[in-house]
Symmetry: C2
Subunit: 444 residues, 2 copies
């Protein structure tokens, strides 16, 4: 396992790469910082995108079941038209009055529980989480942050320091504490909730004992990098309550689960019936345009705003707002979350059917179109399960289907198709994964 | 003075505001986080932009001599066309191969001294400075950062903590040290260099004495928020040398001065004949599209990349790259920096002429089209000078010209027109500022 915990990465020499890509990789290595990683044993090379598909220079198409930014499909023409139209009119910043910013802000907070009625715009999910940490620390007067044991919350200095998923080489903050999501296998739903609360309470006690105090419980509401965890609904409630008792803020990171991906709900936290203090947004918000936001309660936002100005040059510029506004319009007009729910049910039924026939599928978890599929044959250890998951990801890539891995042991397939996927795409994916499972399970 | 040191902000009740704007401000306050600030006593309201001009809903136009993002003019049609064309083709991320990213990266590093040959893309100047701090801290193994006494380097937690310009309410890092730019007035050029070096050496000594060590000297190469300082060329060299002696990295923040604004040079640091270890980019890079970058030496980038992956979902996406590529093409094709130099000379000559007739102009500093104009009548103290500068900014706003203030006492006018400004715009600005000076200096 690489030090940075990204098994699905390109490693030079591991596989045979065509000359055209070898040359491009060499040029890339010669000019881009080495912190860049390519995905897959044989990296993919795309020059065109449309809806669910990405095309390589030879016109071969790949079914995208991985990218959660273009939720409304690659190169969505309506979003692009809105962006182009606004770019030709004005790209205003937030220090000038412009009605479109206010119109969209009102629409956006209207999709949240009424307590969450203030918004600040950013450009990326990392900026959103970074700002949420600033707000939580200023409001609470404390530094401590509680995250899950494999959490990823961003690339900025402050968010990377609370992202154990980045691996040993990226230093964690002395003020961060990690909590496990689940106790031993086979615990009841009630036990899972108790286990989580107990972990949070013990993190709080430790932070207080050291004089650090608690600023926030920061959690991705579908626990994407912990392996995609959904059930039991409400299992985080006790932990949330414990954090609030000591004045900490509850921050839901909706950068991945937000904007309808979880199917029935617009926001992942709704599944747990928790109303956070701050909610962070990013990725699909502009279907590819760099825009994010922090939505929160007035009291916290006012407390922060009274002390600190926050001026993000590009955050809230009207071109990004136009893209985000078009996204929100389409999400509601086309009933995208309801559609994601229906497609999620179809995919889940297919995977469960597959699990009966294929011992390599150990479990399936999902909310809407965010899936975690646990991989591994009985009797193989952690390394074997991880290797099998990685093998399936690369077999699918060679078969023209894009996914990746997640989880503590990276033996869970991470499947997140654009929300506009149709039955035919789901069926194509099921066929492809069945073939990959057969090959991966066959004796070499 | 407000706690956040932003005098040129809207304060409710200070001036009479038309009903349309009052209503929009009320809606805005009811949905945006209170960390937002509007500029000017009577906020401006824009619905259209074109070239050097911004238009309010009544069609009244304002000459933009302030915004340094749309360097090639508001709503530049060529940049917008490049963006729209790429958005209709593919918005690829950096984990897939795509030639356009590599092509642009090669072009971009080609504009730097040859030692600076690696690039990592971000979405904002804040993200660029934040990443530079991460790299400098990992490479040096130390935490200490030396900045100028009124520096501003961004909105992220880590950059805000090294930005004394944000005011007392935003906590500074225990690892930051501030250095003054200039000693007492009237020192020689040689003395200015010695003064800066002495300040840096004493910051280093203090950081080492406390076991914090030195990660970086981080400086905006035109010292925008310190009041726009240019002369004497090379005055930072001794400080740079001192930081390198102890293993610290030299980071030039080119978010404001970069991409030809300083006239003769593409990058502000070139004036000082210093080759930094890392250079951070943002604002005008995509003429409004959110894109930034860190350009650096291979050794530092490799050291960071070996330990840490850096995956910025939107950073380096091909739509932003297309916008940035179009910007670079136009900058060279239309000889924009040479043009900025010529227009800067015209503006400077006009201001110097004005200074002879108007005692309110105490000094003019510039490189290309980045100007600092010191304001204040003899015998008035700091508060009087600040008030006069603020009055001029607001008189200009009412006359349809946009600028703002900067500097330790915020008594310096900050003037940064888009680089495509023509002689007629310079002359219009000179006429407007002369009128404003007369009014501001007149007894009430």
């Amino acid at each position: 396992m690489s030090t940075d915990l990204m098994p699905n990465r390109f490693t030079p020499g591991e596989a045979t790469i065509p000359l055209r890509e070898t040359e491009l990789i060499a040029r890339r290595d010669n000019v881009l910082g080495s912190s860049y990683r390519l995905q897959y044993r044989r990296p993919v090379h795309f020059v065109r995108g449309e809806g669910m598909w990405l095309y390589d220079p030879d016109g071969r198409r790949y079914l995208d079941f991985y990218n959660n930014v273009p939720s409304l499909g690659h190169c969505n023409p309506e979003v692009n038209a809105a962006m182009a139209e606004q770019a030709s009119r004005i790209s205003a910043n937030t220090r000038y009055l412009e009605p479109r910013l206010v119109d969209y802000a009102e629409r956006l907070v209207g999709t949240f529980p009424q307590e969450l009625n203030r918004v600040v715009f950013t450009c990326t999910g990392s900026e959103s989480n970074d700002l949420a940490l600033r707000i939580a620390r200023l409001v609470s007067g404390c530094e401590g942050v509680i995250v899950t044991s494999h959490a990823y919350h961003g690339t900025s200095a402050a968010t990377a320091m609370v992202s154990p998923n980045l691996g040993d080489a990226v230093k964690l903050s002395p003020a961060v504490r990690m909590v496990s999501l689940h106790g031993p296998a086979g615990v009841s739903e009630k036990q899972a909730a108790a286990f989580f609360e107990e972990q949070v309470r013990s993190a709080i006690a430790d932070l207080n004992r050291r004089g650090i105090g608690v600023a926030a419980l920061l959690f991705d509401s579908i626990f994407s990098s912990d392996g995609v965890w959904v059930d039991p609904p409400g299992f985080i409630a006790g932990g949330v309550k414990a954090v609030r008792e000591v004045g900490g803020l509850v921050v839901a990171d909706e950068v991945q689960p937000g904007f309808g991906r979880t199917g029935k709900n617009m926001w992942g936290f709704e599944l747990h019936e928790v109303v956070p203090d701050l909610v962070t947004l990013g990725k699909p918000m502009g279907n590819g345009f760099p825009i994010g936001a922090v939505v929160g309660r007035k009291a916290s936002m006012d407390r922060f705003g009274a002390a600190a100005r926050y001026s993000n040059t590009f955050g809230g510029n009207t071109v990004g707002i136009a893209a985000a506004d078009a996204v929100l319009t389409i999400l509601y007009r086309d009933r995208i979350k309801e559609h994601a729910h229906v497609m999620g049910e179809r995919l889940r039924a297919g995977l469960e059917h597959l699990a009966i026939r294929h011992p390599g599928v150990r479990g399936v978890r999902n909310a809407g179109l965010f899936f975690g599929i646990d991989i591994g044959l009985d009797g193989t250890g952690a390394a074997g399960r991880r290797a099998m998951a990685l093998e399936i990801v690369n077999l699918l890539r060679d078969d023209g289907v894009l996914i990746s891995t997640t989880g503590a042991n990276e033996d869970t397939l991470k499947v997140r198709p654009p929300l506009v996927c149709q039955a035919e795409h789901v069926d194509r994916f099921l066929e492809a994964i069945e073939n990959a499972l057969k090959k991966a399970a066959a004796p070499v």
